[in-house]
Each structure stands twice: as C-alpha cells, then as structure tokens.
Amino acid sequence: MGVEVEGLVRRFGERVALDGVTFAVAKGEVFGLLGPNGGGKTTLFRILSTALEATSGSARVAGIDVRDPAVRRRIGVVFQAPALDKKLTVSENLLHHGHLYGLGGRGLRERIGEMLGMFGLTDRERDRVETLSGGLQRRVEIAKGLLHRPEVLLLDEPSTGLDPGARRDLWEQLRGLSGVTVLLTTHLLEEAEKCGRLGILHKGKLVALGEPHALRSEIGGDVVTVRSADPAGLAEAIRAKFGVEPRVVDGTVRLSRERGHELVGPIAEAFGGRVESVTVAKPSLEDVFHARTRESWS
C-alpha cells in the first residue's frame, strides 16, 4: 500500500480538523484529496508528511507508521509554500536536499544531473531560484521531492499560483512518475478530475471516495444549468413553478434530475426574458459534493 489512513483524528483545542478519516491509496496511484478550504486537507497532508502529530488513529506511508522516523526517507514532500532557498541556485538547493536525505558524493551529483534533465532545468542549474518563474520553481520543488527516490510523493495544492501552461506541465510530470504513489490536495474541481481516485474531505470527514467518473455517475440523472442576470430570483421562481429544488452555484441556477432535457423547453418558455442560456450536462464533482453534503462548494 502507498498510504493507509485509519480513523485519523486531529483536534486543535475545541476544533476538530479531522474527524475519523479512513482510506487507502494503492501503490503507484495518483490520489487526490479534494475539499473546500478549511475542510481538513492540509491537516491530513501535514500528518502524512510528519510535520504534525495526529490526536488519534493511525497513518502509514509506504507501509511505515508516520510516527516512525524511518518513514521520512521514503516520502517526498512538496509544500504549498515553496520550501526552496531563493538565494541559492537550483543545483545548490538540490545538493542541500540530498545531504539532508543521507545522500552525498558522486551518486548525489549524478542524481541531481538526472533530475535536472528530467525536469528541463539543466540550463538553469546555476541560476538563483529567485530568478525563475513560478512554474519553474514548482518544477524545482518536485525535482527536490523526488531526488531521494521516495516511494510516495505528497503535494499540497501543487498548482496554486501556476498559469494554465505550467499546470499542464505539472500534470504531465505527475503522470510520468510510474511506480511512485502520488497523493495531492486540491480545492480545484477540474484538477481533481485528473486524479486516478479521489477522496472528498468536508468538515474533517471523508464524504466521498472513488474514481471521479464513478462518483459522478453515482448521482445519476442530469444537471440543468440556467444562466441569468438574477440567479437567486430565478431559482425561487423555478422552485415555485416546477416544484424542484434548484440552487445557486457560481452565479448560475443548477438543478439535478432525471431526464433534464425535458425541463429545458418549459424553463425557456416560462422565464424567457430572464434566461440567458439553459444547458444540460452530466453531474460534475461539484454536484457530487452537493449531493453528499447538502452544501454548495464555495
């Protein structure tokens, strides 16, 4: 197993940040922890990366309990806040990291060269990190996380602050890591779609677990999305007229039901002037989240 978490609880005083979370990630999987900010993702991440102790329950990474210091060598950690020294060059950062992880000498120098090549950083190795773009800095972070050949790579919100091109790069690199178990946290729905499997965390509890498409098809039916200048008012009017339960998400009116296309005509007819567009689609992860928590995403 890559990661095994059982009944994990973490309290900060009165506040329960993690409330009995259990799941497992198979070796080599790309697993995403999805949830709105404050859902408990970062707390879980910090426990898995040994930066924080759990209140109760257990967590194992690469088969070793996270309380055992021997686990650290097997984990690569990429924090949300960059853990690079910006005054140092790319290769100096990697060198120090290697030394901290028990590597040294020629083996380390060769490995650094290998990682620089793999992440397209060879021509920047002598540049100070502060002169690199955000996307390149994130690449250095990941190269650093993988330098000591960990079995599990943990990433906290890895695409924060990256432009779309750099995000695509990041995903290409993550998918190319065969044999390495990847666990990442994200609050971005479209990013979660790219994971092999997902756990959705809400208020410290795991509310859904599975492959993204499986989670979406569990809900069944269609989602009708209506765009309007006055979504709240329109939602109320639709509720009154059709006896359905619409909700307002990101300035649109959404409602889930079987055979959603049958509602398109009637809605357009009844509220023609107030409707900008009506679309029918399969449920998204946002709908999954709503179905499980009865709360809207953001």
Binding site: A51, A83, L84, L100, K144
Partner: protein, 258 residues
C-alpha cells in the same frame, strides 16, 4: 524516464549513526555561509554599529584600547543575532518546513544553524580584530590563536542562545526587541565597557553571575598576552554547551506544541 523514477534506487539507511546527521549539519551550515556572502549588506549592518560605538565612546573617554575586546564581543553578538534571524525568515518563507520533515535529528538541524552562525560571526570578528593594531592591540601569535578560540566559543554560545529564542518567535520584530532587551544589558555588564572593580556591589554581583563576563575576560587576556585563565575558559565553554542544549530543547519543544 520511468526507470529514473523507480523508488528505492538508493539503498535506504546505508550509513546509520552520526555520519548522515553530521553531513546534514554541515550542509545547513554551508548554506548559512553562502547566503551571508551573497548578502553583503549584512556585513555593514553588523559591523557599523560596534565600530561607531567604539570610536565615539572610546575616543570620548580616551580608552579605545580597553574597549577593544568588549567591542569585539559586541561584533560577535550582533553577528550572532543577525544570523539567527534567518530561522524566523526560513520559517515564514517555507524553507524550514522542508528541513523539519527531512530524516535529520532536530539536534543536527540546530547544530548546522549554530555552526553556520558561528562561522559568520567569527569572520566579522576577524575583520574587526584587524583594526587592533591601530590602538596598540598587537597580540602574539599564541595570543591570536587563543583569541580566535575564545571568539569561536563566545560566538557559538551567543548564536545558540539566539537560536533558542528565534525558534519560539513568529516575527522578526518581536525577536529583535527581546534580544535587545536581553543582550544589551548582558553585554554592558560583562566587563566590556567598564571593569567590575570599583562598580557598585550589586553590579559586581550581576557581573560575576553573567557568563559573558568570562568570555570578555578570557578574550582580553588572550589579546594582551596574559596566561590563559582556565576558569574563564571553562565557564565560557560551559556557557556554549548549555546554550546549545537550550537551543536543541527549544527546537524539539516547538514540534510538540504544534
């Protein structure tokens, strides 16, 4: 590309014991020094104040030579505090969290920080020492060697003291305030500015209890070519060890608290 990523290519845990910990400490110390050399303005910051102090007070009361060892200790003191500020910056910028999840004992992390800070302070101390001949401070070769030894001990102790505090502070400003409050009196009452003979009784008692007093006196002895005072050296070494222990305890405690 896939073969490159196969986990466990490096034999894990092949050198147990002290060697990896010492290499980790060494790499962190080296990082401190490289960073210092790339930020030249820090040199000015740590040297200018003691230099100004020394010239104004020393000339004003006409005892530039008496004041010299004391100012040398102030150079070490400022340099040590400046270098421990980096712990707070490392924490705020994120570098420290990466170090804290690495397979390195907390004591090695602290040792690396303290050794790096000591080296930086010592470098600045040596620059100041080079001004000695201007006021007639011309130690013998043996005196110079023991001066460097005492300077290293004092710098180590002060850097460790700064580390113990810096580990607990979230803001540079707060750390600065507390260190000034603690260290300025400590320096003032160490025999750096006036000798304890002739001071009021309670001041003398405080000076006798101040561990820095023994560092200043050992340094003064070494610079003037006196026989080494073993008690003063012993107290200074014990001070350095105790401060290192305090810094390690502080670094371990923070982990549990969070």
């Amino acid at each position: 590309m896939n073969a490159v990523n196969q986990p466990g290519y490096f034999p894990a845990g092949n050198q147990p014991g002290w060697f990896p910990a010492l290499r980790a400490a060494g790499t962190l110390a080296r990082r401190e020094i490289v960073r210092f050399l790339r930020q030249r303005s820090r040199l000015v910051g740590a040297m200018a104040t003691p230099l100004l102090f020394w010239l104004v007070i020393g000339s004003g009361f006409n005892y530039l030579d008496y004041l010299f060892p004391g100012m040398l200790v102030q150079v070490l003191l400022f340099a040590s505090i400046f270098s421990t500020i980096s712990i707070i910056q490392d924490r705020n910028e994120g570098f420290l969290q990466g170090v804290l999840v690495a397979p390195v004992p907390r004591s090695a992390v602290v040792l690396g920080k303290v050794l790096g800070g000591t080296a930086i302070a010592l470098l600045q101390g040596i620059l100041f020492l080079a001004l000695g001949p201007l006021v007639g401070v011309q130690p013998t070769l043996a005196g110079l060697a023991s001066s460097l030894g005492v300077m290293a001990l004092v710098a180590f102790a002060l850097t460790a003291l700064g580390t113990a505090f810096a580990w607990r502070f979230e803001s540079v400003q707060g750390f600065h305030g507390v260190m000034n409050l603690l260290l300025f009196p400590m320096w003032l009452l160490s025999g750096a500015v006036f000798p304890s003979e002739g001071a009021a009784g309670w001041v003398r008692a405080v000076m006798a209890g101040n561990p820095l007093t023994y560092g200043v006196s050992a340094l003064r002895g070494a610079l003037t070519g006196a026989e080494p005072s073993w008690p003063a050296l012993g107290v200074t070494a014990a001070f350095a060890l105790a401060m290192f222990g305090l810094a390690v305890a502080s670094a371990r405690g923070k982990m549990r608290a969070r």
